[in-house]
């Protein structure tokens, strides 16, 4: 082991005396520092902004005056998804899914973007996240540093001298590998800093440390591939060319292909498209605003029988509220069915995309990174489901107020005059039915179990690439 350490030390000596290497390392360090600082700052801002907006939306709802209950159904509410602390490193799907939803009766609205402040952050530079750098740029740095690790010795003749000192190919590979490993360890420092920072913001230590571990594995895969190429190939230029091609293939070509392939294999309509498909079915359910709609005749008969009444005017409850509540439940079932179908297809696409990790570790680390950071598609889907539950509960709670607290006759007469309109209102105290909503990340155990498959694929990659290094190193002679 001591000879491996010595070989690694001398590799560092070479790097530290090379202007090209120092320049490349400085560029990467500046990029990492800048993106980490900017992304962390933005995430902290957005976290507090969205929480403030959530609280403000609740206060605005509670502070509404006496109103007709159905007006509150349409007054609506907002649900915000604050970025989890690790979004400072991995913004994930946040940038493309929207982070807030306007919740109102009879509709499942599309998630929107909470604000446009991000556009002020140095233009497009803000979209370059630390995770992007780790996934795409750091492998390139390892290629620049390591493509000639062995070849340099072979080409300059020092390999023979090294071997003549009693060193075996495996020992040399261990030393060179240790040098790359120490570079990788140094590259992990900014991520460890971000992880510690995220823990201080409330992130689970297990999720943060698992993220650090995953990126360490990912960079080790690249380190092993780089080392293997430098042992197996015979010319420096060929090694560099092959490794750059592998990088292009794994980091750019396969992900692009995987997106197209999973979209083609599983045709998932977008939100707008599925809304249009759903509209026709929705019309069959009847108009909840019109209690006389023939679609509610059976309901009317059931309610009259339940209350042993002859006419709806004799009912002790508000028939229009009953219709609104019934209609909302029916409609929500339909909306949820379509939403679940769409989310199921999206999840299938995402799973298929992840399977391409078998031929590209960049896909696997992307998936693990988003999942552990709480910025993956599954988390967004949970946000959609939870906000839908919030929407349905508050709409139905207000409908219940409509049923129980507003006299049917007054309700029918609400448009006769201003005074009649005043009488068709319920107390503002009724708006307290709105539940408090605070979206939080999944427990770290749940995130880890979701990331397990991709993490397993990465570990298989690491074992395979290290095995190649070992086998190649055993064959080293000169």
């Amino acid at each position: 082991m001591s000879s491996a350490i010595r070989i690694a030390r001398e590799e560092w000596r070479l790097w530290l005396r090379s202007k090209v290497v120092i320049a490349a390392a400085l560029i990467i360090a500046v990029l990492l520092a800048a993106t980490s600082f900017l992304t962390a700052g933005r995430v902290v801002d957005e976290q507090s902004q969205r929480l403030d907006k959530q609280v403000a939306a609740e206060e605005a709802f509670f502070s509404q005056p006496d109103r007709h209950p159905h007006r509150m159904v349409h007054y609506g509410h907002y649900a915000f998804r604050p970025p989890p602390p690790l979004a400072a490193f991995e913004p994930g799907v946040d940038a493309v899914t929207g982070q807030s939803i306007f919740l109102e009766g009879h509709r499942q609205n599309t998630a929107m973007f909470a604000d446009t402040k991000a556009s002020a952050d140095l233009g497009g530079f803000a979209t370059l996240s630390p995770a992007n750098l780790y996934q795409l740029l750091l492998p390139l740095l390892l290629i620049v540093l390591g493509h000639a690790l062995f070849l340099r010795e072979r080409e300059s003749g020092t390999l023979a001298v090294l071997l003549a000192q009693g060193q075996s190919g495996v020992k040399l590979a261990m030393g060179k590998g240790l040098a790359l490993l120490s570079v990788i360890a140094a590259l992990m420092i900014p991520l460890v800093a971000v992880a510690i920072y995220s823990i201080s913001l409330g992130e689970s230590a297990m999720a943060a440390s698992s993220l650090v571990f995953s990126y360490f594995i990912y960079l080790c895969i690249w380190g092993a591939l780089v080392l293997a190429a430098s042992i197996i190939l015979k010319q420096r230029a060929v090694s560099l060319g092959v490794l750059v091609f592998v990088w292009l293939f794994a980091a750019l070509i396969v992900p692009r292909f995987a997106i197209n392939a999973s979209s083609a294999a599983i045709d998932a309509p977008g939100k707008i498209e599925s809304d249009l498909i759903m509209l026709a079915e929705q019309r069959k359910l009847g108009d909840g605003h019109n209690a006389a709609d023939p679609a509610f005749q059976r309901l009317q008969a059931q309610v009259l029988e339940q209350y042993e009444a002859e006419t709806i005017e004799e009912l002790p409850i508000n028939w229009r509220g009953i219709v609104a509540s019934y209609s909302e439940a029916e409609l929500t079932d339909l909306l949820n069915e379509h939403a679940e179908n769409r989310m199921g297809l999206e999840a299938s696409q995402s799973r298929m995309f992840d399977l391409f990790g078998v031929i590209s570790p960049t896909i696997s680390i992307g998936s693990v990174s988003r999942t552990l950071s709480g910025t993956d598609l599954a988390t967004h889907h949970r946000f959609l489901r939870e906000s839908e539950t919030l929407r349905f509960n508050f709409v139905q709670a207000v409908n219940q107020v409509h049923v129980e607290d507003l006299d049917y006759a007054r309700d029918l007469n609400r448009n006769a005059s201003d005074e009649a309109g005043q009488l068709a209102r319920v107390s503002a105290d009724s708006w307290k039915v709105l539940e408090e909503f605070r979206f939080v990340s999944d427990a770290s155990g749940d995130r880890l179990s979701r990331a397990a498959l991709s993490l397993g694929v990465m570990i298989a990659w690491l074992l395979a690439s290290v095995s190649i290094v070992f086998l190649a190193a055993r064959r080293v002679r000169m």
Partner: protein, 239 residues
């Protein structure tokens, strides 16, 4: 008594070509044996088989009576090897190079030991803390020779050791090699320098087309006759 170095019917095929064909010789302790031959004669390949870098297609190479293939590490620990190109690291100083390679060889040497070796090869003091990328070929060669000296191994393999050295340095090198042999080191050198080989070698083997085609031995304390060897060398080259 076993010879420190022995080749028995050594044959080597590389990329379909016969590089060595039934070469046999021994080198006794304290002897300087020079393998003389033109380009492509198989000289360097012979050296590399003793280090286990090349595996014989047939025959054996033995170091202290042990087949190299059965314990390459043991063979390498007994041998100091000076490659033709004096391959050392250009980004390191002479001190750093020597310290590094000695450390890898499991040999500890202090600064004074290194200085003593560099004194023996006459590397100027001022050059020792400069990086080798600023060295002439001769200075690199001297540093590589110093490494071989510092290894203090019983066997020294030298591949074209005087290549790139000026005449004065060549004479100094010959004196050094002779002194090492007198101290008991076994030396196998390969060269195409007829004059140099005759200056230092106790025996010369003439290698051509992978076969040992001639042998000359110094007798009665006399040097091997340069003209005789040269004539044989030239005859064999033109044959």
């Amino acid at each position: 008594m076993t010879s420190p170095l022995e080749a028995r019917s050594l044959s080597l095929i590389r990329e379909g070509n016969d590089v060595l064909d039934g070469v046999s010789f021994t080198v006794a302790q304290g002897e300087i044996f020079a393998l003389l031959g033109g380009n492509g004669a198989g000289k360097s390949s012979t050296l590399l088989t003793f280090l286990g870098f090349l595996e014989p297609s047939d025959g054996d190479v033995l170091v202290h009576g042990e087949n190299v293939g059965s314990d390459i590490a043991a063979a390498r620990s007994a041998i100091a090897y000076l490659p033709e190109a004096a391959s050392l690291y250009g980004h390191m100083t002479a001190y750093e190079n020597l310290d590094y390679f000695l450390d890898l060889a499991g040999k500890s040497a202090g600064r004074s030991d290194i200085d003593a070796a560099l004194d023996r090869v006459a590397l100027p003091d001022e050059a020792r803390t400069r990086r080798l990328q600023s060295y002439s070929k001769g200075m690199r060669q001297k540093t590589a020779i110093a490494l071989a000296l510092l290894r203090e191994t019983p066997i020294l393999l030298l591949d074209e050791p005087t290549s790139g050295l000026d005449p004065v340095a060549i004479d100094e090198f010959h004196d050094l090699v002779t002194a090492l042999a007198k101290g008991g080191q076994t030396i196998l050198m390969v060269t195409h320098d007829v004059y140099g080989a005759c200056q230092v070698a106790d025996r010369i083997g003439l290698l051509r087309g992978g076969q040992l085609v001639g042998s000359f031995t110094a007798e009665n304390g006399e040097r091997i006759d340069t003209e005789t060897v040269h004539a044989a060398f030239a005859q064999r080259q033109s044959a």
